[in-house]
């Protein structure tokens, strides 16, 4: 059996790597994706006061800085049995939505668009962010980054620092928004809405109007039929900060809903012999293997899952874009994973509109930013929709609020099964009779890039990149070819 390995993506919390196994005829027999675990942080948090946890977990990842912070402070609310004041809730929601704009912008322009603008089989020399800029123009690139910076400025104002914020407290937020700041955020929000509209236009011009790309987007190479989980409000509209987690099957039928600790009734984890990380699956269906299809117990989270689970978005421009997507894709769940990028572009606009709505509400400047704490109840769960999907922070504490146990389930973990299927399917479609070339590396990477896997990048060291390597082994296990991007 031949073995192809995309490796290594070594990071703080373990290794992310892809191994592809070929049979004796050189066709793909199986593929495995091994991803990050957060056990290191979970141990590190033990013994820490719960109110210190948000500032610490924000260092898990410099990209996902706002989401671990927000989920953990919601868990801290639960531990102290306190509801944040309406003003604090608005500030937190504003903070999270600004983070959405900044993060979705980075994913789309650095990761999603280069494949389409330069073409998925283009040389790596042009199929990258710099190549994208050369094609769309320096002025466009400049506008995108400047507007993105408006979101970073909002994060800095609200969180106290641009990276690793410090303002969240159980029951509230430590820093009120002044009227001057509200006016500034309101002005900046216009940049964000324009960025959202511009991004959807780029997607429209580059992808939707290109027949070849749409065949790729809607074809079978990048398709994973599974269940979906996402957060919605009481009208089933997509939510990020709070709501109910809704799970549907691959046909769109509801499997169930949960909040807080209820996740334990729906999500189980399977130990697999080839990975040190457990693979989540839906408890109500039962383990069905690392397989997609109508009987699958795998589920995925993130923008595509939210699009499938929800019945729309709660802002007018995003809803308009949603209806256009539905018109093109139909009413049933969409299983084509490159549609992640389309949903991501709609969410960018949705989050930008929410920033504008929240900043337009004068009551956000109220000084009622913190509710008195209750007695520590010994346990708290905080769930949000992180940019990449449902994020669960679950803590057990003593009576003083000192953490005794921590369990963090991140989007990349939820998506582990579907990513495995996606990588295997792409490899099976693209690698035939043992023929592997440089283009294969990118086409296989395209199977996991829509999920934008989080590998706890906070430990990076220069040059700060993840080398990707494919090692090809023959049926005797001998390495006869290596492809790498470093």
């Amino acid at each position: 059996m031949k073995r192809i390995e995309i490796n290594p993506m070594t990071r703080l919390e373990g290794h992310g790597k892809i191994s592809i196994f070929l049979d004796d005829t050189g066709n793909v027999e199986n593929a495995f994706f091994q991803t990050v675990e957060l056990r290191g942080y979970e141990r590190f948090l033990r013994g820490m006061p719960i109110e210190e946890v948000p500032r610490t977990v924000s260092t898990i990842c410099g990209v996902c800085r706002g989401v671990h912070y927000t989920a953990s402070v919601k868990a801290a609310d639960s531990v102290y049995n306190v509801e944040p004041t309406p003003t604090a809730r608005k500030i937190r929601e504003l903070f999270l939505n600004a983070h959405y704009v900044e993060d979705h912008c980075a994913i789309l322009y650095a990761l999603g668009f280069p494949d389409f603008v330069a073409g998925p089989t283009a040389s790596p020399a042009v199929r990258n962010l710099i190549g994208l800029i050369e094609i769309v123009g320096v002025e466009t690139g400049r506008i995108v980054l400047k507007k993105r910076r408006s979101a970073v400025r909002i994060l800095e104002m609200l969180g106290g620092r641009p990276i690793h914020p410090v303002a969240a407290l159980p029951g509230g937020w430590s820093k009120r928004v002044t009227e001057e700041e509200r006016q500034e955020i309101l002005a900046l929000s216009q940049d964000l809405v324009e960025l959202g509209q511009m991004t959807l236009q780029v997607f429209d011009d580059v992808v939707l109007k290109n027949k070849g790309y749409m065949e790729l987007v809607l074809g079978d190479i990048y398709k994973v039929v599974c269940n979906y989980a996402g957060t919605v409000d009481d009208q089933n509209r997509v939510q990020y900060y709070d709501g109910t987690q809704r799970i549907i099957n691959s046909k769109g039928e509801e499997i169930g809903r949960f909040q807080g600790k209820g996740y334990l009734d729906f999500i189980a984890e399977r130990v697999l012999p080839w990975s040190y990380l457990k693979m989540p699956y839906l408890k109500k269906i039962g383990w069905q293997g690392v397989e997609d299809g109508e009987a699958s117990s795998l589920y995925c989270v993130g923008p595509l899952a939210r699009f499938n689970v929800g019945s729309g978005y709660d802002t007018p421009l995003a809803q308009e874009a949603y209806l256009k997507m539905r018109e093109a894709l139909g009413k049933d769940p969409v299983h084509n994973i490159l549609v992640y990028h389309w949903a991501r572009a709609v969410e960018l606009l949705n989050a930008a509109e929410k920033v504008r709505q929240l900043a337009g509400d004068e009551s956000i400047t109220s000084d009622d930013i913190r509710a008195p704490l209750g007695e520590a109840v010994g346990e708290g769960v905080g769930i949000i929709e992180a940019v990449r999907g449902i994020l669960i922070h679950h803590y057990k504490t003593d009576k003083r609020g000192i953490v005794e146990e921590a369990n963090l389930i991140v989007a990349t973990t939820h998506n582990k099964g579907p990513i495995n299927v996606a990588v295997r399917r792409a490899a099976q479609s693209l690698i035939k009779d043992g023929k592997v070339d440089e283009g294969i590396l990118n086409m296989v990477e395209m199977a996991y890039r829509p999920y934008d896997i989080c590998l706890a990048c906070a430990t990076h060291t220069l040059p700060g990149r993840q080398p990707v390597q494919i090692d090809i082994y023959d049926s005797q296990g001998r390495n006869y070819q290596t492809l790498k991007n470093f």
């Binding site: 962010l129 690793h164 990076h460 990707v468």
Partner: protein, 146 residues
């Protein structure tokens, strides 16, 4: 001449905090910025300054504590990445100069120290790397103030 020191790293991961520690020691002397990744945020940090010192850990296999002085040109060869979590400094600097040439620092010096342990939790660097903090702080001061 506006100067900034940008320290990159994770404050709770031993030697990965090297850049953060150097920047913290220079806080109050110079403008400083702490970063945990090297993506678009690095461009944000540099715009509007005439001169910048970027300080980070590096893992090249040489003796831990070894200090390397690099230029943006040393990092520019590599423009690929597989996720937003690994947008690297070379790509960010390249992009910054391509898009915002007039606003980027005319002089960028990168101090990188070889790490010994950047994978385990701890609020301090290992002793060898800890010793390099003062050396880099002094080099930056000397570079600026003679």
């Amino acid at each position: 001449m506006r100067t900034i020191v940008v320290g990159i790293g994770n404050p709770v991961l031993k030697d990965d905090s090297f850049g953060i520690r150097v920047a913290e020691q220079l806080s109050g002397v110079l403008e400083t910025r702490l970063l945990s990744t090297t993506g678009f945020d690095a461009i944000d940090a540099l715009l509007g300054f005439d001169r910048a010192y970027i300080v980070d850990g590096v893992n090249t296999g040489v003796k831990p504590g070894t200090i390397m002085e690099l230029t943006p040109g040393d990092l520019m060869a590599d423009l690929e990445f597989s996720g937003t979590h690994n947008l690297h400094l070379g790509a960010a600097l390249h992009l910054g100069y391509r898009l915002f040439r007039e606003e980027m620092p005319r002089v960028i010096k990168i101090f990188a120290v070889e790490v010994e342990d950047a994978a385990n939790f701890g609020l301090h660097c290992t002793p060898t790397v800890e010793a390099a903090i003062k050396v880099v702080v002094d080099r930056i001061k000397s570079d600026l103030f003679g």
